[in-house]
């Protein structure tokens, strides 16, 4: 049995209208049926783009938002059904580290007061003296000097503030810590320090983490298992190495392909999947598979039938009807995803004459597998301009022609 189990968790926020007696006119389906298990002593990483509901899911575990449906079971107790006061006492075992280190610390309390508040609420430590001793030992663990006690949050640097946030969670000796974007507000060098601190603390204290992040590198580094969220539900879940080695869900593939590879040759040759369109509104999610409006491999079945997470072996779960077919290459793409295809379409619809020259320059790196020939480039530029001028008034064509020799001259300079 896992330490933390979420089963079919749904968090729907009502959209209300009216002043005194609010009438519910709809719901925002922030989290729409998420089931996952977090094993004791392990780290579960939750990734997804902004607005996919990962933060709401994290908050629902702590019941900071009301759970509409489903259960959150910690160590055999269903938190979703606990009455208020019992839930309050249970929060000692579940703590949270927030994204904004300064915003999550009360600016009018000093560090000692911030750190002892939770202990007072749960009756830990007989008197302030005892609590102070404990706080000092925790401060030492997270790498802060003990003279920090009488200082205020605004007197610390970003990384130190996040350490205070971690210390605040640690003083209550929790079983599970939910880290909501723990490092995204910090600069890169400090990110590493905080991530390493979290790992050290896990080893030392046997903590269990649920890490929410949008930074794929961070999540990969820290997680044992990773869940990918899209529009309120999990689309894929796998052990972290397996997920990075062979992502199976089209959304995960697109997400992974967005990470640049630090090798220019591989970077040039590898396939990139560019998604078209925006994240649909969670107040009006698409029917069937939530991803079908943007999926490059979309089929008819996808818009009617919502895929469940199914096991495809090795603890790899994916919510896609056609994951196997996509994997074997049996399914052809139904939408353009290639970087060149996307750029060219954009080039045709560009309104301004200067757009043509920009496109021609943009075409160069995309085509770099073959050696760029100045003649070919010239042809492309003029064809791009022609394609444009077909749709525009004469005056603009003149402008475009005037810009044309200039543009081809510039591009051939660059290619030489």
């Amino acid at each position: 049995m896992s330490l933390l189990e979420l089963d079919g968790v749904k968090v729907h926020f009502p959209i209300k209208k009216g002043v005194l007696f609010g009438r519910t006119v709809g719901h925002v389906y922030a989290v729409d049926g998420v089931s996952l298990k977090v094993e004791a002593g392990e780290t579960y990483g939750l990734v997804g783009e902004s607005g996919c509901g990962k933060t709401t899911l994290g908050r629902s575990v702590l019941r900071l938002v009301d759970i509409t449906e489903g259960s959150v079971v910690l160590d055999g107790t269903d938190l979703a059904k606990l009455p208020g006061e019992e839930m309050r006492r249970f929060r000692r075992r579940l703590q949270m580290v927030f994204q904004d280190p300064l915003g999550s610390l009360n600016p009018r309390q000093n560090i000692e007061s911030i750190l002892s508040e939770g202990m007072v609420a749960h009756g830990i430590g007989k008197d302030q003296e005892e609590r102070r001793e404990k706080i000092k030992s925790i401060l030492d663990k997270v790498g802060l000097p003990s003279n920090a006690l009488s200082r205020y949050p605004h007197e610390f640097s970003g990384g130190q503030r996040q350490r205070i946030g971690i210390a605040r969670a640690l003083v209550l000796e929790p079983d599970v810590i939910i880290c909501d974007e723990p490092v995204s507000a910090l600069d890169v060098s400090v990110q590493a320090q905080v991530i390493n601190l979290l790992e050290e603390l896990q080893e030392e204290l046997g903590l269990t983490y649920l890490v929410i992040a949008h930074d794929l590198a961070v999540v990969r580094h820290i997680s044992d298992t990773i869940g990918v969220m899209y529009l309120g539900s999990l689309v894929e879940e796998a052990p972290s190495d397996a997920l990075y080695a062979e992502p199976k869900h089209p959304y995960t593939k697109a997400l992974m392909s967005a990470v640049p590879v630090p090798d220019p040759e591989v970077e040039d040759r590898r396939e990139r999947i560019l998604l078209t369109g925006d994240l649909p509104s969670p107040a009006n999610p698409p029917s069937g598979c939530r991803f079908h409006t943007r999926c490059p491999w979309v089929q008819e079945r996808c818009s009617t039938e919502r895929p469940e997470l199914r096991d495809v072996g090795g603890g790899h779960r994916v919510a896609c009807h056609y994951a196997d077919e996509i994997e074997s290459g049996a399914l052809k793409r139904t939408r353009p995803t290639d970087i060149e295809a996307v750029t060219e379409t954009e080039g045709v619809v560009t309104e301004q004459p200067e757009g043509a020259t920009e496109v021609s320059v943009a075409l160069l790196p995309a085509d770099s597998t073959t050696k760029p020939d100045p003649e070919v480039v010239k042809e492309r530029v003029s064809s791009a301009v022609e394609a444009r001028s077909d749709q525009t008034a004469d005056a603009v064509v003149k402008d475009a022609d005037a810009a044309n020799p200039n543009a081809s001259g510039k591009t051939s300079d660059e290619t030489d």
Binding site: V19, L20, R59, L62, L64, R88, R89, F90, R91, R92, L94, Q95, M96, F98, Q99, D100, G103, S104, L105, N106, P107, R108, Q109, N110, I111, E117, G118, A121, H122, P145, N147, S150, R151, Y152, H154, E155, G165, R168, L172
Partner: protein
């Protein structure tokens, strides 16, 4: 590197370490006070207020004449209808009953300050309780709390819908002519301002991360409101209280001017003095100018201090 500079360096580092060990943190309140001390506006305002308070305390003792002592009619209008202006023994001249205006001005300061402070305190306390309750219910009370907040705030809206002076006049009229009535009337008018301000400020703080953090720590709701939300919502209310003091003095003067003030002629007050001067404005405009200038300068003092406090407490200017 020579040995001497090296030991120097070590010593300096040790000193630095020692200072850090003893240094205590600077709370936001203390920093705001430090900024306040460096603001010219605050200093001018504070000096004016201090003078006013001193005047209110010692005024009756330093007044050269009794504020109620009258003189013979012949002395009041020596040149048929002309008032006695400023002169050696009466710095501000005499009023229509031959009372010394300077003495009345000095003695009247106390009453004016009292009205301002008491009225503002009434408004602040009642407004704070109402606004605090509404804010607490709205931020942490869930759906039921939001409904309670909504009901409370509609009552406040009703109060706000009435023109403040009209409301004060009706309250004062119902309660009869007395100083208490003026204070309560002016205070009640301030209630919705404070209530709305505190509630709005609490709502803004209620969604902040540290309130969420306090909830996730397992703090009780009452504790969250008292130790997290309210301390961070106070600064606009404090600023408003300072600014309201000025308004309260002016409104009390307005009520006195309308004849709803203290009817007891033995206790002079700047607003009452202004009312009385009105009848003789053609012949003796200076009689109105003295109390008016007094009210204006005092109100200016409180406004300056209030504005300076707003700036000092603004977290965006923290540095």
């Amino acid at each position: 590197m020579s040995v001497a500079t090296k030991t120097d360096k070590i010593q300096r580092l040790a000193e630095l370490a020692a200072t850090k060990e003893t240094a205590t943190g600077a709370s936001l309140w203390r920093e705001a006070f430090r900024r306040l001390k460096h603001s010219k506006m605050a200093i001018i305002g504070a000096v004016i207020i201090a003078l006013f308070i001193v005047l209110a305390i010692v005024g009756p003792y330093i007044a050269p004449y009794s504020p109620t002592a009258q003189t013979w009619r012949g002395e009041v209008f020596p040149n048929r209808g002309e008032f006695v202006g400023a002169r050696g023994e009466n710095w501000f001249g005499l009023d229509h009953l031959g009372r010394d205006l300077f003495s009345r001005f000095l003695v009247g300061a106390r009453q004016t300050l009292l009205v301002g402070i008491v009225a503002t305190t009434i408004g602040l306390i009642i407004g704070f309780v109402i606004g605090g309750l509404a804010g607490a219910f709205a931020t942490l009370g869930g759906d039921t709390g939001k409904r309670i907040d909504s009901v409370i705030m509609r009552f406040i809206d009703i109060m706000l819908a009435m023109p403040s002076l009209l409301l004060a006049v009706s309250i004062a009229a119902v309660m009869g002519q007395s100083l208490t009535a003026v204070m309560i009337a002016v205070g009640v008018v301030q209630i919705p301002v404070f209530a709305r301000l505190l509630r709005g400020s609490m709502l803004a703080q209620g969604t902040s991360d540290y309130v969420l953090a306090a909830q996730s720590l397992g703090l009780r709701k009452r504790r969250i409101v008292l130790s997290q939300v309210i301390p961070n919502s106070l600064s606009p209310v404090i600023v408003q209280a300072t600014l309201s003091l000025a308004t309260a003095i002016i409104e009390a003067a307005a009520l006195s001017y309308l004849g709803l003030g203290n009817p007891d002629p033995a206790i002079p007050e700047w607003g009452v003095m202004l009312t009385q001067a009105q009848r003789f404005f053609d012949n003796a405009p200076m009689m109105a100018v003295y109390p008016a200038v007094g009210i204006i300068i005092t109100a200016l003092g409180f406004t300056l201090l209030g504005e300076a406090m707003r700036e000092a407490l603004d977290p965006k200017l923290r540095g």
